[in-house]
Subunit: 349 residues, 2 copies
């Protein structure tokens, strides 16, 4: 069965070879999951770039970020008995985990939404400080009036949580620290307050009871959050049987807040679904996809750094059309469009 | 080596046989981890009472709480192929976990801090609503002026999070919902604001990077929380090598905020340690116990529902003396005292 996404015919839009590494000691391994926004009349992507360290003989090197957001290389002796390098993604030295790749957020802009280029005036964002020493990932960009709220995954040996930076000009950023404590990711702030409160979707993980579910939280200032409620759980036998998480900020429609989310199976196949939330009380779920609205089917979606993955955390809305950017196979950036009406129809609306 | 706690000579203070079950269909399995506070000149315990359902032949019964805080019994056919009852604590039916025991919080009062009795005027607290359907556990009671903040573990199929109820009279409670999303527990709110902000210790768990560490959060209203910072991690080879979590609210001393916490090993041996936090910025750790200040050694601490466990989430302070109530072996309530000066001395202060 074909899904209801219309893919851009020249996908993928971006591949690792299209960008330069952030530093001469690094190699780009993957492009992933761009945040998307409009600024100064242009379309901007905030692409997650995952890099690894150039390896030298007889040394195992992993990158971390220091306090100033600069890469620091840690070198280990592969023969050291305190080193466990059996997993290609995570090594352990003397009880402490380190990631073999590190992600930063690369800012790219475009006049047509298709051809993206770097702009020296607007630098990339890197991990800064002890909660981001292993990188920053998968940023959602929510615009409320003239202010952009960047919610992203902070990664460090402390755990994986949600960070917030705020900007108006994409040059100066106000750092608001960790807004959701570990283990948490996939956070998107609604682009409008409801009854004077900010709302956000987020994805805590539970190692015991519960699972990898989508939750909703409320805030009076966008920085301090409470009244957590679970709005969507995994469903046995469906495309979202193992984990699910919000995409970008929900889209306001006449029928409710429309959220495009990712769901994954036990075999790590990532598809997209939709969920419709009540306009006045978004903790009320009106409808949810029984089948994916988009699933991996093109070659670059099926095969790559991590195959059979479609993941989105950014889109623009133009009338009935959602112009959605997405990560494919954890390696490429693609573009697809949806009709809002058509998605709502699949939800029985 | 003896620890530095002075135990009450007639410990344990309370055993399961001392209380009646909440309902004729239930049996008390354990008493655990009391919150402690002063109210109307008396000493009060808010004891966690874990109960299981009386089992009938050919039926497996588990208890849950309904919306009104009343016990509802779910019955399963032990021969049903959808049922997995291989774990005595958690059963699974058709993909959903249920606990075999359920906890409520029993309010007991005392004139001397030793002999506790129930008072019909002040009823027990039960789980209410979908986030507490599997019970409420391990409540910390923090008093700020004339208001009591009850932070407790909410348990349901949604996961394990921290709930907040507020009261002034122990009759009417204002429910503030879940303040820390799963997986989170061991939350204690400081009993004084610092620079006009509330602070709380909490214990998120991370299934990937990170672990079971103590974190600090800030709030302007006690309900919405942010700026999460990790203040204490597990330490390889020590008494807190596998997990740790805050006890009751920290005690204000000249040297800093003194927090008594529990640390556990891989073998689930629970001891108590102390940590000293900066008075003005409690995210700064001044000192931390190298050795436990209290460890299981008495018979009722070593053997019980779950042996070798000392766990505290409640105390009163009288001058230099901490009068600490604690859960022993997940079955009994004990009393011990500490000298604040002596604890500070073990911390090099």
């Amino acid at each position: 069965m074909r899904d209801i996404a219309t893919r851009y015919k020249e996908n993928p839009l971006l591949s690792p070879k299209d960008l330069n590494a952030s530093d001469e000691s690094m190699i780009i391994e993957c492009l992933l999951n761009p945040g998307v926004f409009k600024f100064k009349g242009k379309t901007w992507l905030l692409v997650r770039v995952a890099e690894r360290t150039l390896q030298k003989e007889d040394v195992l090197s992993v990158p971390i970020y220091n306090e100033d957001g600069k890469v620091k290389i840690l070198n280990f002796d592969p023969k050291d008995s305190k080193l466990d390098a059996s997993d290609s993604r995570v090594i352990n030295y003397d009880g402490v985990d380190y990631l073999t790749t590190i992600s930063h957020l690369r800012l790219l802009c475009s006049d047509d939404g298709i051809n993206f280029y770097e702009n020296d005036e607007y630098p990339s964002l890197f991990g800064e400080g002890e909660y981001e020493s292993y990188g920053i990932e998968d940023c959602r960009v929510s615009q409320i009036e003239d202010t952009y709220y960047l919610t992203y995954t902070m990664v460090s040996s402390n755990g994986v949580g949600v960070g917030l930076r705020i900007t108006k000009d994409w040059k100066k950023f106000e750092k608001k620290g960790m807004i959701f404590s570990p283990h948490n990711k996939d956070c998107a702030i609604f682009e409008e307050k409801i009854d004077d409160k900010y709302y956000a979707l987020h994805r805590p993980s539970s190692p015991e009871l519960g699972g990898n579910y989508i939750w909703l939280a409320e805030s009076f200032d966008g920085v301090h959050w409470g009244n957590h409620k679970c709005i969507a759980k995994t469903r046995k036998g469906k495309f979202d049987s193992k984990r699910l998480g919000a995409g970008a900020a929900p889209i306001k429609t006449d029928k409710g807040w429309l959220e495009i989310y990712h769901g994954a199976t036990e075999k790590h196949r990532y598809c997209l679904g939709a969920i419709l939330l009540d306009l006045e009380d978004p903790s009320i779920v009106i409808a949810r996809s029984e089948e994916p609205i988009m699933e991996p089917q093109e070659a670059f979606e099926l095969t790559g750094f991590f195959g059979e993955v479609i993941f989105t955390n950014g889109h623009l809305v133009k009338g009935d059309q959602i112009q959605m950017y997405y990560g494919a196979a954890d390696e490429f950036v693609g573009l697809a469009t949806f009709s809002i009406k058509q998605i709502l129809k699949t939800l029985g609306q």
